[in-house]
């Protein structure tokens, strides 16, 4: 339960015990709590007062499967509010195995300096001068770091977009194969890392010092039951391994909720060319990999390796949100081009969602035609080249809208929505508008609750029940992001005993009783901290809204608009 504090101004490192105020917390609860407590809310997100914090989930490096989840927190340069960006890969398990609860990066190196932070197998941290790595793209960077430091490390890094401090810059981290293809994409936290002068965090995967369990046997019993349910579940046990999250393309398109051509339509006529079914077939035919393990301790294997016609690696892992943002959203039905764009974003260090939507807004404004994949690739390359227009794309959709004086910009609190149009699934309107994160699908995914075929009881075109569904899911997800269970492994909640297994595991690790009320309290604690920060940063209830286009432009084919009233939005968090 160590906290490593790195001062980038003084170049000092201190290792402390995790302060009592944060005992028993991990992941999002730790990052959001720490940021709320320590960062002046009105400070410059790219200045020395901001803090970048990396925290593995509370369950990372325990025997529970699918728990290598890292929360990265800071004040976001994209939204101006608090941010927790969540990513898989191997780094969370690696940090957990070193007994590290969090790495806090404070201060700022002088402009022009580049540093690496290396965590040794004994948990000691050291800053290494990294000028030789400056401006490198992430794949080449990782290759060079492996040459220099060996392969038994996780690398969490930024690319040129982060070094340019662009608001859509991601933090990339390595998967099981050592590819920097896992992204803490949302919120522009790559820019914060760039502003600190930190190019890469290199974490030894050789740690053997995970936090002790109060009751290891009880933990193992609950973890075993949970894992069994993850494997037995149709979705996480069979469909995700076969198709990955891309299995959602056809389903969401069919219900008319697949935002197409900058959300002018809800169905994409070329969805079948970019679907999970098509992707899996192409990968199989070319000798790539489906059912690929991307993250440590994963038993779902939803990842894939997309290859070109010659069978050469293009990218990993091609996922639903990217297929949407670089596909339907820009009118592009060419899966090879989507794969190339996914790779470029990972390599340059860009959020695929924000970048695709930024391109979509540019096309909507008439800069290029929808469906012009080569123009999209050129725009992303411009980001790496550092051209004036590249910087605009790299700052995300709101910057693009401002540049073209174009008001069809699907962002909430400055961050783009994801691949579910809120006009066709009203509950997503509530989540997008009210999440302290800005437009974010993982903060409160209520799609299933809106579709009867998936057990939902809500009318997806009506406001009734949507606020309650979003509120409850957001509270639950804030807790899930804190214990660090992969979103897709929530199928484990179907195990006999259900969520009680999760409560038992928290209790077995901490030695303290933990139950339903504590779970609710954990989620609420996170959201309260995040909303408190945002209020101090200047956000008001008027920020819990969607752009006008969603209230005024009916979305084909159902021709509905968002019907959630302002008062209902404001009732979502009545605390």
């Amino acid at each position: 339960m160590k906290l490593i504090k790195v001062d980038m101004t003084a170049k000092t490192i201190r290792v402390e015990d995790l302060p009592a105020a944060y005992k028993g917390l991990g992941g999002r609860a730790l990052t959001s709590g720490y940021i709320n407590d320590h960062v002046p809310a009105t400070s410059d997100a790219l200045g020395p007062e901001n803090i970048l914090i990396f925290a593995p989930g509370y369950f990372s490096a325990t025997p529970l499967v699918n728990t290598s989840r890292l929360s990265v927190g800071a004040k976001s340069p994209l939204t101006g509010g608090i941010k927790e960006s969540n990513v898989g890969g191997t780094v969370a398990a690696a940090l957990g195995n070193l007994g590290i609860s969090a790495i806090v990066v404070e201060g700022q190196a002088p402009e022009g300096e580049t540093w690496l932070l290396k965590i040794e197998p004994d948990g000691q941290a050291v800053l290494i001068e990294g000028q030789a790595y400056r401006d490198m793209r992430t794949y080449a960077l990782v290759e060079k770091l492996v040459d220099e430091f060996g392969a038994k490390n996780s690398v969490t890094c930024i690319g040129p977009a982060g070094e340019q401090q662009l608001s859509a810059a991601s933090i990339q981290t390595t998967d099981m194969d050592g590819h920097p293809c896992r992204a803490a994409g949302r919120g522009g936290l790559g820019a914060v890392m760039g502003a600190k002068g930190l190019k890469a965090l290199i974490v030894s995967r050789a740690g053997k010092n995970a936090d002790p369990m109060a009751d290891a046997e009880a933990f193992k019993a609950a973890a075993k039951a949970y894992a069994k349910a993850v494997k037995a579940d149709e979705f996480s046990g069979e469909i995700l391994p076969a198709l990955g999250s891309a299995c959602l393309v056809e389903a969401i398109n069919e219900v008319g909720a697949f935002p197409t051509r900058n959300a002018r339509e809800g169905q994409f006529e070329h969805a079948d060319q970019i679907s999970g079914e098509t992707m899996a077939r192409i990968i199989r035919e070319r000798g790539g990999k489906t059912t690929h393990k991307g993250c440590a301790q994963c038993i779902i294997d939803c990842s894939n390796e997309y290859v070109d016609k010659e069978g050469k690696y293009v990218t990993s892992s091609l996922e639903y949100e990217t297929i949407w943002s670089m596909g339907g959203m820009i009118g592009n039905g060419d899966l090879d081009a989507i794969a190339r764009l996914d790779f470029l974003c990972d390599d340059i260090g860009l959020d695929t969602i924000s970048t695709g939507v930024a391109i979509g807004v540019a096309m909507d404004a008439g800069y290029k035609s929808f469906g012009d994949a080569q123009a999209a690739i050129a725009m992303v390359e411009e980001v790496a080249a550092g051209t004036d227009f590249g910087k605009i794309i790299g700052h995300g959709p709101a910057a693009v809208g401002k540049h073209f004086n174009h008001d069809r910009v699907p962002v909430m609190k400055g961050q783009s929505m994801a691949a579910y149009d809120p006009r066709a699934i009203q509950g997503m309107a509530v989540t997008y508008a009210t999440s302290p994160m800005g437009g974010d699908h993982t903060a409160g995914w209520v799609v299933d609750q809106n579709l009867e075929a998936f057990g939902g009881t809500l009318d997806r075109f009506s406001a009734e029940g949507q606020v309650e569904a979003s509120r409850n899911t957001q509270i639950h997800m804030a807790a899930v992001d804190s214990v660090g269970i992969c979103d897709f492994a929530q199928s484990g909640l179907a195990a006999p005993g259900g969520i009680e297994n999760v409560y038992q595991m928290v209790a077995a690790k901490s030695g303290q009783p933990f139950g339903e009320e504590d779970w609710q309290a954990l989620g609420l604690r996170v959201l309260k901290a995040e909303r408190a920060f945002n209020r101090r940063a200047g956000f008001t209830p008027a920020d819990d809204r969607l752009p006008r286009m969603f209230y005024e432009e009916p979305l084909p084919p159902h021709n509905k608009v968002v019907v959630i009233s302002d008062a209902e939005m404001e009732a979502t968090f009545d605390f």
Binding site: C247, T278, F454
Partner: protein, 79 residues
């Protein structure tokens, strides 16, 4: 009458030789429902999430029409 069928996710495994690119052309009795069609194909109803007929979401008891495109989806969970 004949209907066109597309099976999504891993549902194709229930029909020998299913090719997703072409889907299936299936002859069904007049008045047959979605559930009847699934029984005929051997796709267990509990493996099915969502069904659409020519793009409109329907329940499993819905009657089929000649020439209709039946899309059959798996359950979903997301994020």
């Amino acid at each position: 009458m004949q209907v066109q069928v597309k099976l999504y996710g891993t549902l194709g495994k229930w029909v020998a030789g299913y090719d997703h690119r072409t889907g299936l052309a299936v002859n069904v009795d007049e008045g047959a429902t979605v559930a009847d069609l699934m029984a005929q194909l051997g796709v267990p109803l509990d493996k099915i999430g969502m069904v659409s007929l020519d793009g409109r979401l329907v329940g499993k008891a819905t009657a089929l029409r000649s020439g209709v495109l039946v899309k059959v989806f798996h359950p979903i969970f997301g994020g």
